[in-house]
Symmetry: C2
Subunit: 478 residues, 2 copies
């Protein structure tokens, strides 16, 4: 075990804090290709738990998992022009195998719309085959210029769902239901509150008709797009010729959706819940939920025996790890904290004289002397408390740092303070580009409750009273 490094306080330098946390929490190592990252057990374990638990939710929604190829031939990709243009500068391109040049360029998938299009074309015959609801868990590549572990990596892991429907109403409804499913998942499993909304035309996905998003607030006040759901209309079914016979035996193009969450969520966990001791992992996705630390075990048979008993007892219901090493109690505690384990039990000879052990919560750092007989019942309840506390703290922060403004001066002031700013806005590309240049903020979404136009309020940027005016959430973003 290498020595634990110090973590820069988050109040001092948030970016440095983040880097220190990811490097020290058994979360990542850097790979040798620039911008590539190795997921160590403590971060990959979070992703596996997200996968397992989200798969159950998907199954209840009638989703079936499939797996499509990594490589997309250029000829297939360029059938949908807006989509290709959106991704082109980020596409990693295979041109050779061994020393031989290929007859056609192959792109490493940045997303799989065009592959799914090809699959759907082969699979759909009539309305009886619809809706067709597929999902895949996969790695994708986008050659980002600046990278940051979890938040913006050239390769990332995600789930991408792709569906076909016989009519636009059903497809739109499915698009919206997925964004709600994501919001609920983040609340119930990651303890992260979000703002649900719709992207402006400028920020929507290349190739989509409309994009819904969930936006979370990080501890520095910046926004993180945590999941998206796109209504594709017939944008892919027309160029890729995905047709079905309707009940009148006439051919129609299907209506599509796609939706995804990624390993960014691990970055969201760190920056929503982390503190100056490192990451704090919400219990439901914590690879280790309970650390049992054997303190001075070499001097006491009773300590060893109790540790073994607790391990057997708790492993049945929780993800438990035991540290029996000969390291100091201080090192063991720091190691557990820096890895964000939600609960730890310290078993030492002094407490054991009274048949007690010490239970320490990672979120509040609260210590509690507990009778050994009471431990079993306490763990489940305390893990729930930790989840609820993490969520509540994040919700309070989100509420306290979201501000409504009606003029551009206030807008600039609060954006400079890294707040979430909601303002009436005309949603034009032109205004959006200028606001970004002038303030560094981007539109995050039109929150759910403001999706009806509000012509009476003047756009904070151009002063117009357009029927495209909406209350729009702006923020600096990851």
């Amino acid at each position: 075990m290498k020595k634990l490094d110090k973590i820069t306080p988050l109040e001092e330098d948030f970016a440095k804090w983040y880097t220190d946390v990811v490097k020290n929490g058994n979360l990542i190592k850097y790979g040798s290709t620039k911008g590539s990252v190795i997921y160590l057990p403590n971060s990959y374990g979070i992703w596996e738990l997200i996968q397992n638990q989200f798969n159950k939710i998907l199954k209840e929604k009638g989703v079936q998992n499939v797996y499509l190829p990594l490589l997309i031939p250029e000829s297939l990709f360029k059938i949908e022009k807006e989509h290709l243009e959106g991704f082109n500068p980020e596409l990693a391109t295979v041109t050779h195998v061994g020393n031989k040049q290929l007859s056609e360029k192959l792109f490493i998938r940045p997303t799989s719309e065009v592959l799914f299009a090809e699959l759907f074309k082969q699979s759909i015959d009539s309305y009886n085959d619809l809706p067709l609801i597929y999902n895949q868990w996969a790695n994708v590549l986008r050659w980002e210029k600046t990278t940051n572990p979890f938040l913006r990596s050239r390769e990332f892991l995600w789930q991408e769902g792709h569906t076909c429907h016989s009519n636009p109403l059903e497809a739109r409804k499915f698009t919206r239901s997925m964004i709600s499913t994501y919001a609920k998942f983040l609340k119930n499993y990651l303890a992260i509150p979000v703002v649900i909304g719709k992207k402006t035309p400028y920020e929507k996905f290349a190739g989509a008709c409309s994009t819904y998003t969930i936006e979370a607030m990080m501890k520095d006040g910046k926004a993180l797009q945590a999941g998206t759901s796109h209504y594709l209309a017939q944008n892919f079914s027309k160029p890729y010729q995905i047709e079905f016979k309707n009940k009148n035996n006439q051919k129609e193009f299907v209506y599509g959706t796609s939706w995804g969450i990624t390993t960014r969520l691990i970055g969201a966990i760190i920056m929503t819940h982390g503190d100056n001791r490192g990451i704090i992992i919400p219990p439901k996705v914590a690879p280790v939920q309970v650390d049992i630390l054997e303190l001075f075990g070499d001097k006491s048979d009773k300590v060893k025996k109790t540790v073994n008993q607790l391990e057997t007892l708790l492993s049945r219901k929780f993800r438990v790890r035991v540290d029996r090493s000969d390291k100091t109690p201080g090192f063991k505690a720091s190691n557990s904290e820096i890895q964000g384990v939600p609960l730890r039990i310290e078993v030492g000879p002094r407490d054991l004289e009274n048949d007690m052990v010490t239970l320490i919560r990672r979120d509040t750092l609260e210590k509690q002397l507990v009778k050994i007989d009471d431990i079993k019942n306490l763990i489940g309840k305390t893990l729930d408390d930790i989840h609820n506390n993490l969520y509540e703290q994040a919700q309070i922060r989100l509420n306290n740092n979201t501000i409504f403004v009606d003029n551009y001066e206030d807008f600039k002031k609060y954006i400079a303070q890294q707040k979430f700013v909601i303002a009436p806005f005309c949603c034009s590309d032109h205004a959006e580009i200028h606001i970004k240049e002038e303030t560094g903020a981007s539109s995050r979404c039109v929150p759910k409750e403001f999706q009806k136009p509000d012509e009476e309020k003047e756009c904070i940027y151009c002063g117009c009273s357009s029927k495209t005016n909406r209350y729009v959430l702006f923020a600096k973003a990851y």
Copy 2:
């Protein structure tokens, strides 16, 4: 739902039979890049169940899952020469991003030894950090010239385990323990018997010191390599400088192993258990274990009610699917059979008059009229019976088609009949290359029980009595 195609009888044309089975069993579609395959729910579901169940076994062995980058820089790959030379003709190479040429070629991983080497170098300090036992589930690419779904695809999915140990004994022991773990997994979960053995020098993995394998017999008598475990010695730790401080505080290079199973196993399932109606999926990895078919449900409320009751009852314990469509009973039955669902329950008005339903096993096609009240207890037992029967049939076939020979004439005769042939052999590259040219057979392994030399037996090819002589298993292979 498109029409089900006919399956060519396996006795008539085994290769055509295989293609028909994979195309019709909701298993694959072909992608648009040559040699690329789309895994549909029925095959990807098998892989997910393999993953989930094998992960539990890995966890018990102290294995931790990680995830490493897809792309390997050329400079990193070429540090170990034998390894690079072995893979070079099959390496898909990224040279461009968008329109820009990269300063260094990047290879899509064909396996991740060199990436793990880099990770281990960063992670290991002293003997306290050993053994270090990592695994990853990932996609890899090898540009095969001829391809066949599941068996030989350019992209495939696998698990690759990589470990570091402080001494060769422990590493060798771990290598062997993994090959036994694979053999046990295939027996207990896929109902596939295997021959465990060691590869000859000519057939071992590029970069390994020794390679262990499990070889299964397909229904046409050919061998399929179903899993491998490599003892890497210090072949990677020396060039990649993976050192640890031993108990005397001296630096030493670690001893490595690597081991993997792949989506080939789905091909192995098809060709071990399949019949002229399609795939038969062993119950433990069947995405659907029980199909409930509602027959003439529109005419009878009782049918619908019973189907709903059975679904609720059985879904608690088994993976259940219900076909409530208005298709014919014959179509529904064929559809269930072609997808290899181990058990189906047909619920029709005539049987229901006596409170009975019909239970049909996919392996024996045996039909049984069963009282509804007895169904619940019968399902679990029958699924076990199916597993055991599939295993037993395969074991009998393996035994009956494995032949010992002591001369090259018999050798050629039985190889031509597509048997597993065990013969004394000197294990020289030269003899092995000639045998392959002359008979089409390759050495599969030195079976476990024959790994001690047998100098008394003359090599069937060159007649020598060398101390490298072993009884070696030969066969034509996938």
